[in-house]
């Protein structure tokens, strides 16, 4: 395992762009999500001190004045990447006061919330959800979805921000309870579409489990964990296996077969799919990394 991790770290440090960030491949321009994921992985593994400093510098250069981050510095619209940045910079040791505006941005971001009675009844009929509950959207003004909700919960729970965010975090827990698939686990958003139950998927289930474990572990049901274990193997992709292992590590569990499959998927260049984002997740998954 040590050699697997060493090769992965070697790929990551070699894939860092001159500007200090990482793209979704070494040939791509830097983007916020992969940079944050690699920064978290390096912080978790206590590796690449210089690379981490350069990544922190790049992230601050990509920061918007309103406290948000978009996909890259030239993206004028802030989005779900803001939660990634708050989480990664907090774990990298940045002072909480530097992230205060970003936390406020996350708490005030506009989210679609349906309170009209007739519309609520329609949405409940179609999607079997309570549309008045807010999580977080991918982008401002949109509906809430499981993955950005869970990511934002993890970001707000990571630093000393939880008391300020207590009300929204409690609503987010309700949101995740409401969006749970009937078989346990989570699909990307709603559990039902026009009467047809949607199957759980590995990624949103892993994110939701990590978020609930950080904020309200009592809300996790055994069938959620069972759904994750099944779906991460059914999907079988690098990020599904890696996030699945990370979520299980949060819950004090492991999955030897997932570990074996993930190691087998490492490429000769030390990467997973030549993708720094996937490589960072894989390393965190294999080393039991917690967000």
């Amino acid at each position: 395992m040590r050699e697997v991790v060493r090769q992965g770290l070697k790929f990551l440090t070699g894939a860092q762009n001159d500007d200090g960030g990482w793209g979704y491949s070494p040939e791509m321009p830097s983007a916020v999500e992969p940079t944050c994921a690699v920064l978290l992985a390096l912080s978790t593994l206590s590796a690449g001190e210089t690379a981490r400093q350069r990544a922190v510098g790049w992230l601050w250069r990509a920061y918007h004045e309103d406290g948000s981050w978009g996909i890259a510095p030239d993206d004028p619209e802030g989005g779900w990447q803001t939660a990634w940045a708050v989480l990664a910079l907090t774990r990298a040791g940045e002072p909480p006061e530097k992230l205060a505006a970003s936390v406020e941005w996350l708490l005030s971001v506009k989210t679609l919330r349906f309170t009209d009675d007739e519309l609520q009844r329609d949405i409940e009929r179609i999607l079997d959800i309570d549309p008045a509950l807010r999580g977080w959207p991918w982008l401002p003004g949109q509906a809430s979805w499981v993955e950005p909700t869970a990511l934002t919960m993890l970001a707000l729970a990571a630093g000393p921000f939880a008391p300020r965010a207590a009300e929204r975090l409690a609503e987010a827990v309700q949101y995740l309870n409401d969006r749970r698939c009937r078989a346990g686990g989570w699909n990307v958003g709603n559990p039902v579409m026009l009467g047809a139950p949607l199957p759980p998927r590995a990624h949103p289930t892993a994110w939701a489990l990590m978020a609930l474990n950080a904020v309200a572990p009592e809300a996790i049901l055994p069938r959620d964990v069972a759904a994750l274990k099944e779906e991460m193997h059914r999907d079988g992709g690098t990020s599904a296996l890696a996030l699945g292992l990370m979520a299980l590590a949060h819950l004090g569990q492991d999955d030897g077969e997932a570990r074996r499959r993930l190691v087998a998927a490492q490429r000769d260049d030390g990467s997973w799919e030549h993708n720094p984002y996937h490589t960072a997740l894989a390393l965190m998954g294999l080393r039991g990394g917690r967000l």
């Binding site: 491949s25 983007a31 999500e33 996909i71 991918w138 026009l194 990624h203 079988g236 996937h278």
Partner: protein, 337 residues
């Protein structure tokens, strides 16, 4: 003295009132897009319906996936498809998601036939790509659908469009006024030609999902999330037509060999249709496919708007190949949203 109104004056006033009311209605109808755009779309739609030559759509009865190669070669010639020599081509199947026992994705045999045909005809570079709406990673879908094996045998790369270095481009033709810039993947922007290779199916939001709706998959999740909620927030119909107008030249090869009826795009029932449809005008192809599914095109909002605004030549279509009567079916509609 009582005021009097002559008959002539009354008629003049009535005519003026009628014109005024007509202008008010037109102004109200045009308000969401602006009068200039509204008039341009209206005029283009009328021109397509009256003056422009018909679009060609070629149809074949192709009873099994084993017959696709041969059917496609014939149809490509019959449909007057563009010369691909020296061009960079992106083949865009529908890999929305895989749910066991539901035929929701384009069959790999159809993608293989398209790739082989493009190679035979001298395309300079061929890539296959999609950005699934419900899965964070496309590769498991590529493997599970059987597409990975098909591409490996041909040495053709797959590009996950969700992760393909998106850059902003202006939305053309006045669609998506609230989001005038869309971030699109590098391989989409750099393609000389896109081949939309959809699965023929019903769709609970869009009515039907064929070559136009298939374009949603080019919108990158790394910018917009999973699913691409922005396209619903901005309206499914303007998003479909805005993408059609913004992308590089795009043609269609429709996999209707096994279609999907009922609760599409994921949970519908397979239909052994045996249809392969090819054309260089997406609206014409989708209007034709709608009819062959037993769906009136003007009942599908994005087709109705596309016809009205002339987003392609859907009003006048010349059919070649197998006569449509032999391919006519009646698909069960999706459940009502």
């Amino acid at each position: 003295m009582n005021p009097t109104l002559s008959r002539r004056a009354f008629l003049r006033l009535a005519a003026l009132a009628g014109i005024g009311a007509g202008l008010a209605v037109a102004e109200y109808a045009a308000r969401p897009v602006g009068t200039a755009t509204y008039v341009r779309w209206l005029a283009r739609g009328q021109r397509r319906a009256v003056l422009d030559p018909p679009a060609v759509v070629a149809l074949a009865h192709c009873p099994s996936y084993q017959d696709v190669q041969e059917c496609l070669r014939d149809l490509w010639s019959q449909a007057d498809m563009p010369d691909v020599r020296g061009r960079r081509v992106l083949v865009k199947p529908n890999l929305v998601d895989i749910v066991e026992e539901y035929p929701s994705t384009t069959a790999p045999q159809v993608v293989a036939a398209v790739v082989d045909l493009l190679a035979e005809r001298g395309a300079a570079a061929i890539v296959v790509g999609d950005g699934p709406a419900f899965r964070r990673e496309a590769w498991p879908l590529v493997e599970q659908s059987g597409l990975a094996e098909v591409l490996a045998r041909r040495g053709v790369p797959f590009v996950d469009l969700n992760y393909d270095a998106p850059r902003p481009v202006p939305v053309r033709d006045g669609w998506l006024r609230q989001a005038p810039v869309l971030w699109l993947p590098r391989h989409v922007q750099e393609a000389d030609l896109i081949v939309s290779v959809p699965k023929l199916k019903t769709h609970h939001w869009a009515g039907i999902s064929v070559s136009l709706k298939n374009l949603f998959g080019v919108v990158p999740g790394t910018r917009y999330g999973w699913p691409k909620n922005i396209l619903h927030i901005n309206g499914v119909t303007p998003s479909i037509l805005g993408l059609r107008q913004t992308l590089p030249p795009t043609v269609a090869v429709v996999d209707g060999i096994v279609g999907m009826e009922g609760d599409g795009p994921l949970f519908g029932t397979p239909v052994e249709h045996g249809l392969l449809a090819v054309g260089k005008d997406l609206l014409a192809v989708d209007v034709t496919c709608a009819r062959l599914m037993g769906v009136r095109p003007r009942k599908v909002e994005h087709l109705a708007w596309g016809l009205w605004a002339g987003v392609g030549q859907g009003a006048r279509v010349e059919l070649r190949g197998t006569p449509p009567d032999a391919l006519q079916r009646s698909y069960a509609p999706p459940p009502k949203a």
